[in-house]
Subunit: 262 residues, 2 copies
Amino acid sequence: MNDLSLIEQQEIDQMVLLWLNEVRKKTIAAMQQQLNVYTKNDQRDLVTNVDRENERFLTDKIRHYDTSAHIISEEGFGDRQLTMAGNMWFVDPIDGTMNFVKQQSDFAIMIALYRENKPVLAWILDVVNNIVYHGGPAIGVFANQLKLAPPNNESLSEGIVLLSGARLLYGMFGYDRIAKEALGYRVIGAAGPSFIRVILGQAVGYSSKMMPWDFAAGRILAESLGLLVSDIDGKPLDMLSSNIVLVATDRAHRDILTLHKS
Amino acid sequence: MNDLSLIEQQEIDQMVLLWLNEVRKKTIAAMQQQLNVYTKNDQRDLVTNVDRENERFLTDKIRHYDTSAHIISEEGFGDRQLTMAGNMWFVDPIDGTMNFVKQQSDFAIMIALYRENKPVLAWILDVVNNIVYHGGPAIGVFANQLKLAPPNNESLSEGIVLLSGARLLYGMFGYDRIAKEALGYRVIGAAGPSFIRVILGQAVGYSSKMMPWDFAAGRILAESLGLLVSDIDGKPLDMLSSNIVLVATDRAHRDILTLHKS
């Protein structure tokens, strides 16, 4: 896969794990203080001082390490990118900011590295449980040091599906039909924690409308474990814009595409 | 409150904590083995060998300790009760069995004690995180040893609301209007973990149709922290049958009752 050796990839992996360890400590410390919470596009679109400080910290680390880095990130410290050429880093400094603010659970910090549009490495840090899900197509996928096996290929009706609550509520994308067919559905309210559940085989699929920093890491980890990642019509994801993303087992992916179209 | 002294209540609390420590170890050990999963009323109504073993273990402990105990429990080792007279124990040996089977997270073990229909003590064990939420109106509410403060009195639009996924999906109880008014909504798929989030102030309210063993413990802990617990019409709960239960902050309770009726 691309031109980085296995050793080089493992070195990058270890380095980013050190950054994440540092940013985790900052995040935990900040959670003991009063958060500054701001709204962005609407009252439900939140950002905090921690989102901004984490993104500043991680983008500085990336630029210092990789002077040719292009960065796509949530809070404005990245670049405006029109192509996936070169080294493309995706940063979500706090994924699930509403959960972070209100629940202090079910949020994540995510980083992904693509080279010439090819998945290389990804990291999803579950801050509260202190578990980093990391790896890629070449080195495999790990929960901290534990190597993960591909999840069972269960169908939609055999498993739990995770859906965007807002889109389900407003009758979009056939989510109601998908939820009715599944054994059960859950609404977690954040992409990283939802991807984690699919990667661990706790859910057979997950779908939501997402921005690139929401799905870039989850896509790499999921595909590296043999899960399918596409848009809700089965087409490849556009890494430079929002997509209605679907990640699922092979069987659930087929079930969901059919229900979406019907 | 009733005729048990504070000391007697603390002794019962400590004793049940020991039972829960024991049943937690059994549950964790059983999770390393192959579970035997059976369906009850329909394909989504699951029970496992662990549900049954845990209930047998806990009802034996209760009957040995309290020879006058009446027990209402999920899996059939309890009694058929027509009144709330005497010492009434409620046991849910695995709350959230689908989560237990599929996710290995977001499930609980719950016990509650009422005397002459009055709340006395309750326990909700978060097995995976090894935290017992326990206490009552006289002794206060604790997360393990940490005493909990009453949650902030936030309104529905200021917070996250937790809803039964199935009832929301099928347009019941005005849950769609409630979800739209809230800052956000989540579907957790189990009562105990949902009550815990409201008790901790992570969510402003939770509503689902529940059996007595689903809500008996949560009601005690929530009311002991100043939260309101009623049915969805604002009426007191019937402790001997199913109810559409609503637990919420004072302000969110009012908001939800209004939306349910509208």
